[in-house]
């Protein structure tokens, strides 16, 4: 192997390591309805196509694009309990200094239970509060798995008044709560905060079609990875996203699109910058 190729390969390995932690974390997007638990015996199939791009550093011209299709199936086991599982399918394209590398595979399987804590429906408003507890199992491909068991508790609030709706969610991900990741590294824990506001209007005289523009604000704080109880340098970051999109509903089918823009990023020197994320999704309830 020529010295130049060796150098490229080394750079790519470095890029892989530096990208790994940022790539697994993403802002949820279109988080509306989260506090309102679905009806008993209701199935919800949901999928999205997410396109995430990561910026380049001028010196080494590194670039990464990521495509993710999370497939979600949820079921209303009881009126106050919903179970959900999510399996992401992923692809990552990286390039640097003329060399490129691509990977395909499955992400980690996520299983979650959502419990209704409070629900009040009146003529004028609806208020819902729900708690979730989820576990992410290290089932994914090597390139896309954290290789740790992760625990994710969360709290969701939803409020509706007329056509106006607002949702707030707070979730904490305890990465590696039961084991350590590759090479004994504990991935950093993550705090997520999402706020969404939407205005829904019916289209036509038919009550089966509606359109809702959505505005979302998402904050992610990811703490540093740890090795032997010590923080690992150049890991951990915080990001604030401002997103705008819409939700189009035809009876039991919901189509959604969202553009997430990173408004502020606090990252360390080797992590590559996050650019915009595009999201196209659908939900079908039956």
């Amino acid at each position: 192997m020529k010295p130049q190729e060796k150098r490229k390969k080394r750079f790519l390995s470095f890029l892989l390591i530096s990208c790994a932690s940022v790539a697994f974390s993403y802002s949820s997007g279109i988080s509306v309805d989260a506090g309102l638990t679905p009806a008993q015996d209701r199935w919800i199939f949901r999928t999205q196509l997410r396109y995430m791009s990561f910026g380049s550093m001028a010196k080494i011209n590194q670039k990464m694009e990521m495509y993710m299709v999370p497939v979600v199936l949820a079921y209303g086991l009881k009126s106050n309990l919903t179970v959900l599982c999510r399996q992401p399918i992923m692809r990552r394209d990286m390039s640097m200094m003329g060399a490129s590398h691509a990977e395909n595979g499955f992400g980690d399987l996520f299983v979650m239970g959502k419990f209704k804590i409070y629900r009040r429906n009146t003529l004028n408003y609806t208020l819902g509060v729900a708690a979730t507890i989820g576990i992410e199992a290290p089932t994914g491909s090597d390139a896309f798995s954290s290789k740790t068991w992760d625990l994710q508790p969360g709290l969701y609030f939803s409020w509706r008044r007329g056509s106006l709706g607002s949702d707030v969610s707070i979730a904490y991900t305890w990465n590696g709560f039961a084991n350590k990741g590759q090479n004994g590294v504990n991935p950093g824990n993550e705090l997520a905060f999402d706020w969404a506001i939407s205005y829904q209007f019916g289209l036509g005289t038919n009550s089966r079609i509606s359109m809702a523009p959505v505005l979302e604000v998402s904050y992610r704080d990811i703490s540093s990875d740890r090795l032997n109880s010590r923080d690992i340098e150049n890991t951990g970051e915080s990001i604030l996203y401002i997103s705008s999109g819409f939700k189009f509903t035809v009876s039991s089918l919901i189509l959604e699109a969202l553009l997430q823009l990173p408004a502020a990023q606090n990252r360390n020197r080797i992590q590559i910058e996050r650019n915009a994320t595009w999201l196209f999704g659908l939900r079908y309830m039956f």
């Binding site: 008993q40 495509y67 429906n121 009146t122 019916g202 089966r208 009876s251 039991s252 309830m285």
Partner: protein, 107 residues
Amino acid sequence: MRKIGYTFSLILLITFFSSCLSERAKPALDNTEKIEIRIYEVFGMDCPGCQGGVEKLVNKIPGVLDSKANWKKKQIVVRIWRGQDASDEAIFDAIRRANFTPGKRTK
């Protein structure tokens, strides 16, 4: 990327067509001697997607022919075979299990 794009497009198409099929109109039954129409208030529905959840549970009640919820009007119209035992309480219970709150029976 192409494979992911194709997979996503295929899922989109299948879901869209199954949604259209499930929306097929039921045969019209205008025999008012055999069918009773009841209307109930329902609070908490906030989008067209909510309607299907409550309709599914109400339709399972023995004696119910079909139902049609309307989130804008905050109501559900239920068609019931006359002489069958589909009580108001059974319908209220189905509305509650859909996580909505029943109001009055208006018809």
